[in-house]
């Protein structure tokens, strides 16, 4: 799911960076607050966080390319991190994992880091935790059985459900971000058709692995899993506002992507604005008319932000837009000169390098 730099326009990348930075800021402040309240300060948690990051990092090294999309399929580990560390520490750990991968293994671009963190960490850590993991763990599901068995079943259910859903959301975000950037020629629908089924399979595998690991930890050191069987003892109330915010963000992203589909064709936008309600367009999209309007606005807002933040407008050579051949073909001889200069740099550099290496250290 790691996106390369070339997949994103600067505007989208900057927006994703901003979103990630805000979430990271909130996570850090929450962790600090915990530090003051509990006897479990960040300082003690750090080694655990680092080990878990290293583990997820190793897990993510096994990945494979999804042809034509420039993106890779692999395990995410967000749910596992969250279950063991809690959402805030889990999110920070994921940031670290992705940063190291980006810097040292060139997996995912430096500019695309914000988007990658969002796609892989945000959904797993926050959506997965607050909307799936926590509710399942606190629910009265399987209450007919004894506590241990119920805990086990809940872990399995939460892991599989959480991994599948969060990976789907992440994969969908990849598609939405790439399409918003207007980079690939792949139509939105086809892109979704490639990404979502693949990540459904990955999600299932990841869910099973996560469940297996969590079960093992549950059997051997249940105190590491913070939220299992805590429904009665835990005084923390789970906030409705938090849920609403989370739902709104998910809706925004999904809606943004869907309205993008409508606007990806030149006349699709008009079709989606006018006279679609009778034709059941909104029903097709699984959105009611009102919320559909909201999503479009959100997408428009995102677009305008993108235009503002777009550091260098895409079409700097105004005249060339009608005749794109103008830019690409102009200067074949010039390009040849550049190539010669490049070769010269390499030759001269090689010469100096040999000289440098020949010197005693």
């Amino acid at each position: 799911m790691h996106m390369a730099d070339a997949l994103l326009s600067p505007g989208v990348a900057a927006t994703m960076y901003a979103a990630t930075a805000v979430t990271a800021g909130i996570s850090i402040s929450r962790l600090r607050k915990q530090e003051k309240l509990e006897v479990d300060p960040t300082a003690v948690k750090l080694p655990t966080m680092a080990v878990m990051s290293a583990l997820v990092f190793a897990g993510q090294m096994i990945n494979y390319t999804i042809p034509g999309t420039g993106s890779s399929g692999h395990l995410c580990g967000g749910m596992m991190l969250t279950a063991l560390l809690g959402p805030y520490a889990g999110f920070l750990s994921m940031i670290v994992v992705l940063t190291i991968q980006c810097l040292f293994f060139a997996d995912g671009g430096l500019m695309a880091l914000g988007a990658n963190v969002w796609n892989m960490a945000f959904y797993g850590c926050f959506v997965g935790y607050f909307l799936i993991y926590l509710p399942i763990m606190r629910s009265k599901l399987f209450s007919g059985r004894d506590a241990k068995a119920a805990g086990r079943l809940k872990i399995i259910l939460a892991s599989i459900l959480g991994c599948v859903i969060t990976l789907q959301l992440g994969a969908f975000s990849v598609v939405a971000e790439t399409s918003l950037s207007g980079i690939t020629e792949l139509p939105f629908g086809t892109f979704c058709g490639i990404m979502l089924p693949i990540h459904l399979a990955i999600g299932l595998v990841e869910g099973l692995i996560t469940a297996a690991v969590l079960l093992f930890v549950y059997e051997t050191r249940p105190e590491l899993l913070r939220d299992v069987n805590t429904a009665e003892t835990d005084g923390k109330h789970w906030s409705a506002v938090g849920t609403l915010v989370m739902l709104a963000v998910v809706a925004l992203v999904v809606g943004g992507g869907l309205s993008l589909k409508a606007s990806s064709k030149p006349d699709g936008l008009e079709w989606s604005i006018f006279g679609n309600a009778e034709e059941g367009y909104s029903a097709n999209m699984g959105l009611d008319e009102e919320s559909y309007g909201v999503e479009s606005q959100a997408a428009a807002a995102a677009q305008s932000i993108q235009e503002k933040t777009a550091f260098l407008p895409d079409y700097a050579f105004a005249g060339d837009e009608e005749n794109p051949a103008g830019t690409s073909v102009s200067g074949i001889a010039g390009s040849a000169i550049v190539a010669i200069v490049a070769a010269l740099i390499c030759v001269i550099g090689g010469f100096f390098r040999k000289k440098h290496e020949g010197l005693p250290a």
Binding site: A4, A6, A13, I95, F104, L186, S330, G334
Partner: protein, 255 residues
């Protein structure tokens, strides 16, 4: 990688922050090129090339180390030729479609960005990058975690190899690890590495660690020079973006 970063050269001696800035700025500008602007984009190759030569790192090292990821990056636009069939130019009798051009542009963008990020890491190292991050007020938790994780990765790999050896000794002739053992294998790995990390961390605390790494005063080149170099580089990068240099050179040659 760390060996590369420990060398010394003009680029190695620049302050980490200025290198980070140049890399990020270069990537931003490179990615912003129009998808058909293949000749304008081509000039951008000169920056990383020059960087590699000035830091005495052979360009081939980058391609060799990243040989696993390169195909992935190049796969980005593989389907473009099938969707964008408008003919842009003809060479002899062969028409080249817009999709092919945009595919090539995407591949070039990907490779250039990779080259630049590799250069950044190969000349700066993780400690340098973390100190640059601290300078731009990146929270301490993140940088410390970054450094710790980077160190724990080797610890973890060591643990993995011990465990796989143990597994294979007990299950001779078996390929890989059986699915049914994955959960306990991974779980065991977590618990073992956690214990070890905890031990390590406690010993760090005993030696006076309080949540932040203090790097020794870096004996690097003057800051003003680094800042000036980064400004000049940024201007050059921008100039390449605004003026299509191959086209300008072309008109020079033609007249």
């Amino acid at each position: 990688m760390d060996q590369l970063a420990a060398r010394s050269s003009m680029i190695h001696n620049m302050t980490p922050l200025s290198k980070l800035w140049i890399a990020v700025f270069y990537i931003l500008v490179t990615v912003s090129f129009h998808k058909y602007d293949i000749s304008g984009l081509f000039v951008m190759v000169l920056f990383p090339l020059l960087g590699y030569q000035l830091s005495y790192i052979p360009v081939l090292t980058c391609f060799h180390k990243l040989r696993v990821v390169m195909p992935l990056v190049c796969a980005v636009g593989l389907l473009n030729p099938f969707y964008d069939r408008q003919i842009l130019l003809t060479v002899g009798t062969v028409g080249i479609s817009a999709g092919v051009i945009s595919m090539l542009t995407l591949m070039m963008k990907g490779v250039f960005c990779l080259m630049m990020s590799f250069l950044l890491v190969a000349t700066t190292g993780i400690t340098g990058i973390c100190s640059a991050l601290r300078q731009i007020r990146c929270p301490e938790v993140i940088t410390t975690l970054l450094l710790l994780t980077y160190r724990y990765i080797s610890l973890l790999l060591e643990e993995v190899s011990t465990m796989t050896t143990a597994y294979h000794l007990r299950a001779p002739g078996q390929k890989g690890i059986r699915m049914s053992a994955w959960g306990s294998f991974l779980g065991q790995l977590i618990l073992r590495s956690m214990d070890r990390a905890q031990g390590l961390y406690e010993s760090m605390m005993l030696r006076g660690f309080h949540g932040e790494f203090h790097s020794a005063a870096e004996n690097k080149g003057p800051r003003a020079v680094s800042a000036a170099v980064s400004v000049i580089c940024s201007i050059c990068v921008l100039a390449c973006r605004w003026y299509n240099i191959p086209a300008l050179l072309n008109s020079l040659v033609m007249f």
